[in-house]
Symmetry: C2
Subunit: 88 residues, 2 copies
């Protein structure tokens, strides 16, 4: 039987992962990254990469899957931010 | 002796937590939330709240501390986004 706490954990992981999808879509559509912080997305993307490495080390599929998705989305947003800054 | 994988995990948690600080500072300074996604910050803030509840349930101080900080920062950014949208 699915334990409630595990459900809360899986829901938390899903929300914090999927949440970057609307930001990625908005950034790709608008190309506007003016109010996005380069510091945040650089640190966050590196942090998610480390989570991914940590998940691979533990062979924990949930950590790997969640952070692989977030890493792709965060890298996409970060690259738009860097591209816009270089173009200025 | 500190195990390398644990170090990677703690570094990942620190980076993904602290990364919201530069975004919060930028948002408070510029008041500009135009390219921030409401969808992202609503889902992300809820997800972090659930992580916090999960951590309290497990009495895991690392999960509680990291997500308490992120929750405060994400809520601050989300409130600026909502405030700006209501003011339009």
């Amino acid at each position: 039987m699915f334990m409630l706490p595990d459900l809360v954990g899986y829901l938390a992981a899903t929300l914090t992962t999927v949440s970057f999808l609307p930001q990625a879509i908005m950034t790709v559509k608008t190309r506007d990254t003016s109010s996005l912080s380069l510091g945040m997305y650089s640190m966050f993307t590196l942090g998610v990469l480390l989570w991914l490495i940590y998940g691979i080390y533990l062979s924990n599929l949930a950590i790997i899957a969640a952070n692989a998705v977030t890493f792709l989305l965060a890298t996409l947003i970060l690259s738009f931010k860097i591209y816009n800054m270089l173009r200025k």
